[in-house]
Symmetry: C2
Amino acid sequence: MKHELKHCIGSRLRRLSRIADGHIRKFLGAHKITENQMTILFTMHELGRTEQGKVGEVLCLERSTVSRNIKLLEKRKLILRSDEYRPEVELTTEGKKFVKILIPEWVKAMDILVEKLNDDGLRSLQNLESRIQ
Amino acid sequence: MKHELKHCIGSRLRRLSRIADGHIRKFLGAHKITENQMTILFTMHELGRTEQGKVGEVLCLERSTVSRNIKLLEKRKLILRSDEYRPEVELTTEGKKFVKILIPEWVKAMDILVEKLNDDGLRSLQNLESRIQ
DNA sequence: ACTTACAAGTTGTATATACAACTTTGAGTT
DNA sequence: AACTCAAAGTTGTATATACAACTTGTAAGT
């Protein structure tokens, strides 16, 4: 057979991401935030005030997924949406504060993951990213 | 800063897996099956009759996740469960037939992904797997 | 045989995700 | 100005996932 079933690239990447997220979650426990929402907060921190759609574009997330996640973060007053139909979003002051609180925990998780992956593993990750799209 | 937020290993792996799964889903459309359920079917095809827990162990999935996914596949009569509390599971004849139908579609998706990744990308994937656990 | 402890399954709950269908808005065309 | 169309947002629906709490069965020790 040309490919072996257990070499399915989709399932292997899914598994890798579950493992990595598991490590990250260990450090987020106290802060009542999911790793996904953390990623959106961080992305918005990087982007500054931006259109909602841009978030999905950067993260390769479907419009509807972004819409719902943003809604959850808005409910917690971590982000602000302009009230146009196509809103611009940005972190609130509280959101920025929360990001600053999260970063040290996230750094602990990254330390562990980076140590596991090593420079070579990080290059592998970049390599995959550059090839897959 | 030691790490950059946008280099978060968790979110990058999540993104990669979403992209890969998107490619796979394109080929599964006609067959009314999700890429995750496909993975479980393929895993069970490899394992043969086995304890339910083994599936989660191989795929790094939580017990409850396996439980629910298995239930969905059982409802479709693609798998069979012994009726002990800790059941053994296996593909039904119908399940095996379905796997044979799915494989060509899956191969098409793998052809595309393997072409994108190339030998070098596949080595990168293996490299990540060997390092991350 | 009884008890205890642990391992594995299930269920409740919340979030994450995608796709389809519908809605809204703005931009171009006439 | 009215029309049309495309782009982006939202909602309905189904699955995927994890964690916590509870359940159940088995194995070990007495």
